[in-house]
Symmetry: C2
Subunit: 200 residues, 2 copies
């Protein structure tokens, strides 16, 4: 039986990454944060425009302000979520309380320029690279994308940039390995729904 | 001087990945393709909905059909591109000819369900994981996102799914290391434009 955990040919950081929603308040090395930023900046981007800008937030006062803004916005999101999402949120103990935004020693606010070609796609590749570099550093993360909070004003972000996501970065207190769909549901060969048998 | 290439604490696949637009026609191992798919499926996703589906296209006939559709659509894209993008395309020798879509032995068409929460974000994390796993396999790739081609019909994709991108996967004939912006342009601390000095 093929199991991902024992397949050492798959990138260890991809194999071992888990979702982290609870952080120790322990501080983390500046150079680890710098490597996470550098990793993100190595992402490919549309026409190599590198349409991203990362703001490292480690000031307790600013983290608190971000948390407050996100909690206010999230109350609205939970109220308007579909039944499926709301059930999932409840099952996973996700409430409108966002302690991870103040517990994690560092938040990385990831901005992008929506006018650059394929900018949203590019910035999410950058976020993925940062998640894997955080894993390599032994740190936890999970992109948190506030639905409507005005984080931009809190961080003096110029009008032309948008917030893609906030990555809390810290020593995990707890991580969760999410179950995966069977591969048959997520793969086809040569046409949708077809197995590996050759199709003309 | 800090250079990324010699910083061995950054994930080797992130350090060494380059943009690949030219492929050898050499075939590649099925198990490498399977590991690339598995790596993608390990991405985090909104409410763990895993809103992706990958179609591996290795039939020469279907690759040719995809190439034709993309070339038709791309002629329109080039005509309507901004001056900046058009100049960049010309400078990089990118024309509406897409030989990589038939040269690469495998194309992975990446689909997603736009109704799932944060589905576009999630699928681009999955794409990033696949890019890095391809690098680990010694293979080249680069997401190609056709602007308007109707690839869905060619692959019998159900109405509710959208095409995120096409990843050619193959042995690189040539790769390009794109230059990077200086870090000062892409990073701030605690507020936009501020350096690492503490800000209240």
């Amino acid at each position: 039986v093929y199991t991902l955990e024992v397949n050492h040919d798959i990138l260890p950081e991809i194999r071992s990454r888990q979702s982290c929603r609870e952080y120790l308040k322990t501080s983390i090395p500046q150079d680890a944060v710098q490597r996470i930023l550098d990793a993100g900046c190595q992402a490919p981007s549309g026409a190599n425009q590198q349409p991203w800008h990362m703001i490292v937030v480690d000031s307790p006062k600013r983290k608190r302000a971000i948390r407050n803004a996100c909690e206010v916005a999230d109350r609205g999101f939970h109220q308007h979520a579909t039944a499926t999402v709301r059930r999932w949120l409840e099952d996973h103990g996700i409430t409108t309380e966002k302690p991870f935004l103040t517990d994690a020693p560092v938040l990385i606010a990831v901005l992008y320029d929506p006018k650059a070609p394929y900018s949203l796609h590019s910035v999410w590749i950058a976020i993925a690279f940062m998640l894997l570099q955080a894993t390599r550093e032994g740190l936890g993360s999970l992109p948190y994308t506030p639905s409507a909070a005005d984080i931009k004003a809190l961080l003096n972000v110029p009008q032309h940039l948008q917030l893609a996501s906030i990555l809390p970065i810290g020593v995990p207190r707890e991580t969760v390995r999410q179950p995966r769909k069977p591969l048959t549901e997520t793969q086809s060969w040569n046409q949708y729904g077809a197995s590996r048998n050759p199709v003309a």
